[in-house]
Amino acid sequence: MPLWLFIFGAGTALIISFVALSTLWTEPRFEHRPVRTARPSWLQSILTNRVLEWVIRIVMLLFFLVVAMASARNASPTETIGPIVVYAWFWVGLAIAHAVLGNLWGTLSPFDTIGRLVGFADGEDDDDTVRPYPQAWGYWPAAILLFLFVWVELVDPFGRIAGHLGILIVVYTLIQIGGMQRFGRRTWLQQGEAFGVYFGLLAGIAPLTRDANGRVVFQPVLSGLTRVRPRPGLLAVITVALGSTTFDGFSRTSLWINATARIGGFARIVVFTAGLLAVIGLVTLAFVLAMRTAAKIVGGSWHPLAVRFAHSLVPIILAYAVAHYFSFLVLEGQIGLIRLSDPFGAGWNLFGTSDWVVNYALVTPATIWYVQVAAIVIGHIGGVILAHDRAIAMFPREEAIRTQYALLAVMILFTASGLLILSG
């Protein structure tokens, strides 16, 4: 099938979804929806068991130390367990797991476990043992740290320094310890820790969440995103996540490869950094223009609208993560299983997996393409649904639908450009 037909089909699917929502989805179904309360059961007692929680925490902390040490070794990226676990299992696999299972990072985070073991204060409002977190900072520390992570991944400025990933993991950990010590563990991890904020956003997609007692309950898919707290820097976190994945795809197109083939050294770092910033900027610009149009319709300024509708971009972050990295996770992710037996590349065979080889026939190119198209289309439809639900909760219905025209156009633009980039 020709590419244009996929683009046309995807665009049509979005328009049909929009029309269907406009006529059939007349009341907000996600906004202000209370989280259900679960009854006690044997399953819930396992899921909320403190001993089990701490076993997982300690195991994850030890695994984190192994990955950090392996990443610091003077070895090629696939020789140790380090880079493949960081970029495939953690950055892609855990992101997808959050969108399916809800917030796992709250338990798996080694930074949270370190904070609890050290005994840092929570940092709640009435806590006078730590400094108050500056309100204007909001999610900005997370946005900056997330940008630095994707910059290291996609621009690879320290590629020539062997073991640089391990050094960066140590630096990141020290920043988290400093943040928790100064502003309190919970306050910092909820706003300043890049992966806590990023995974927390993706967890809003999941059909599972926890009630006030910590028990696991079901919720409609996507509805958790309506509980994302608006804070300064929210839009920056979302556009960095979205723009960086788009740039990663764009940097693999023949257009970019041919244009940058002869650039090396420091110039390459500058050009790739500029490209990354430009794509993040373009994604932000498209969304801001849609919000400016919406603001003209309802009156008032665009910025509060942009913040309140930013959550509608989160399903697209997941869609791009699946579309761009699904095959990377399934194929290259196998190297992680192999290296599990020999995490430091020292010739060990702890679990008998060292002699395994990567099965590149696990998924066919056709399967990968259809997963990519499905992810892109479903992700954008999810975005349209969230934006529509919030619009009808905020404005009279006719006005609400008119505010969404420009955002629908942006979603179609993102869909088309996403498919064009994936096709190379």
């Binding site: 099938m1 020709p2 037909l5 046309f8 665009g11 049509t12 328009i15 049909i16 929009f18 029309v19 406009s22 006529t23 309100q135 204007a136 900072w137 909001g138 707290r229 608006p230 804070r231 300064p232 003209k296 319709i297 309802v298 009156g299 008032g300 300024s301 910025h303 509060p304 913040v307 309140r308 404005f395 009279p396 006719e398 006005e399 639908i401 008119r402």
Partner: protein
Amino acid sequence: MKPILAHQGGWDEMLVAAGLVLGMLAFSRFRRRRHEGAAPHERPPDVCAYCGAALAPDEVRCPSCGFQRTRPQPPSGPSPG
């Protein structure tokens, strides 16, 4: 693949999408005209534009979400066009 429409490969298939959008626009215009004259959508003045929390008159930043308060908004009734 079996073509769904009369023929495959032409831009005329876009007419389906364009028709849907135009139909939607016409329908919303029709509904808007029917509802013209309805009471304007009122918004309390001292409410955070970002999270909806109540604000004291002298608060520069919203205590709930941390955003700076925006300038007072004009009442947003049904706008022309």
